[in-house]
Symmetry: C2
């Protein structure tokens, strides 16, 4: 897929990114590479992260002070874990100018809207966002400018949000190469519960089950992981704080999907126990169609490296 | 990792491979490339597969006749699905010469030994094997010579097997670049239940759960699959017949591991329901150690393409 082109004019003048982890630092890199902001301000409460961001040179200004980060800013994107978004919003919001826009990249949206809204000053628009992109790595070094290329970004503006604000955020993501879609926060949380949250819960769970095996077997689990288990460990290596917050903040949808999963698993276990080969074969065939659709829609390739985005040498 | 070198002398004179799918055709390619057999005979009951193997030119002889395949053969490797191994053994075994060796590549070993043993003629050794290698693709075109490079191959010779026969099979796998380990069939089935069989059952199950969602949501599942679900669909795209047979033939070990998995999942679900963030964080941190061990032991890389073997252009 062709890389995004440099924008003719910036989507925003002054862009503040709060939290320079994998996603935040990727936005900083992409916004600069594609000319999407005149000034990029990195805001992080962690001094080590600020030092590293300065070394990497991926922002025009770096600060630990929320008020300084908010000053004269057109768009603030909160890239902290979902559980920290309310506190980050409370610190910055009072310092925003009228006409500013607040966005985020949290993996749940209903709880995020609920956390930010009480702190939103008059005249500041809220356009929550969620880029469906990432790797299992964390921190400012893990980001890269092409992370969002060809990936989806879902925006969940509450009803009545200024369409111009939505368009500004959309233009930023489109400029970073993402496909942008808009839906309600509730619907987002329902869809992501099955595409993302439940898969992570299951992966964490099975790796945990393996970790509890007698130590002799556990070393063999590691040795022979290439037979399927390995892919689960990659998912289960994701950031623990981020994922704790996701489950705490999308509880109902996750538990509903888990209920469906458990019903299906009981049926499958029964087919194994009773040796019902036809039922097993039918089940295992049916799942191939979904895979084909995913490959057909360009969200995956059939290549052995899975077409995963490889961070360029920067 | 350096590629295996061409052997100084072949491990066997006449090698028969029964079933030219992903694994069988990879063995044919590797045996030729690394000079491990003087003559490679491809045996397949499917005419279309035989035609394709001839076109690919990966064997010295191609036949659909088990007797012809067995004639004067030193080593037969049965590469058919686990459920078909008994029938394949019954057809070929009577035609084997004394001193021949029978092996296989099945993902379960206890049931395979039970299926082959009744057909084993006097003077023929049984050395079951299981290469921990594969992709989600099937058929003679899917194979490649370096598939086993740096991967494990487990041999499960029954007690009292001629050590020379075990050594021949070991030398063949080592010659194809695999690390070879020997253990009992029972232990193999126990370890593989957690490293391979349960992960596949879980992956098939969650993809099935998603397939049952209302159709509107299902199209979104496909669209937003990059958020975790995608990796499960890859595992769940594996060959349905092969996996049906695995579950039918490793029932007890799979159900035992599933029981452990379900207990852990109940505890995790409870932590989500009660909002126990500390328990979730502890669980999600613990699983990282296993991942690190897997990367450290060279069964995975931290690279974004996961260091998966890429089939060379052949």
């Amino acid at each position: 897929m062709p890389e995004a082109l440099k924008a003719e004019r910036p989507a925003v003048d002054r862009l503040a990114i709060v939290g320079l982890g994998l996603i935040g630092s990727s936005i900083a890199r992409a916004a600069r590479r594609y000319g999407l902001a005149r000034t990029i301000v990195a805001v992080d409460r962690d001094e080590a992260v600020r030092d590293r961001v300065r070394e990497l040179g991926i922002a025009d200004a770096v600060t630990g002070d929320p008020a300084e980060g908010a000053a004269d800013t057109d768009l603030v994107i909160l890239c902290v874990p979902v559980g920290a978004i309310g506190a980050a919003a409370a610190e910055m919001m009072p310092h925003l100018k009228a006409g500013a826009i607040v966005s985020d990249v949290g993996s749940v949206k209903g709880a995020v809207v609920a956390a930010i809204r009480p702190h939103l000053p008059e005249g500041v628009a809220l356009v929550p966002g969620h880029p469906i992109a990432g790797t299992e790595f964390s921190g400012p070094d893990a980001g890269f400018a092409t992370l969002f290329q060809g990936r989806w970004c879902i925006l969940t503006p509450p009803e009545g949000t200024d369409p111009a604000a939505v368009e500004t955020v959309r233009a930023l993501w489109a400029g970073m190469g993402a496909n942008v879609e808009t839906m309600s926060a509730e619907h987002h949380d329902h869809v992501l519960a099955i595409t993302s949250h439940l898969p992570h819960l299951i992966a964490y769970n099975i790796v945990g089950t393996a970790a509890d095996l007698e130590s002799a077997t556990q070393s063999e689990v590691i040795k022979f992981s290439a037979s399927g288990f390995r892919d689960f460990t990659r998912i289960a290596a994701s950031d623990p704080t981020m994922w704790r917050d996701i489950f705490l903040n999308n509880r109902e949808a996750v538990l509903e999907m888990l209920g469906r999963f458990n019903e299906d698993l009981s049926a499958l276990a029964k087919a194994v126990r009773w040796g019902d080969g036809d039922a097993l074969h039918a089940m295992f065939t049916r799942t191939r169609a979904i895979r084909r659709s995913i490959v057909a829609q360009g969200q995956e390739t059939a290549a052995p490296d899975f077409g995963r985005p490889r961070p360029p040498e920067e």
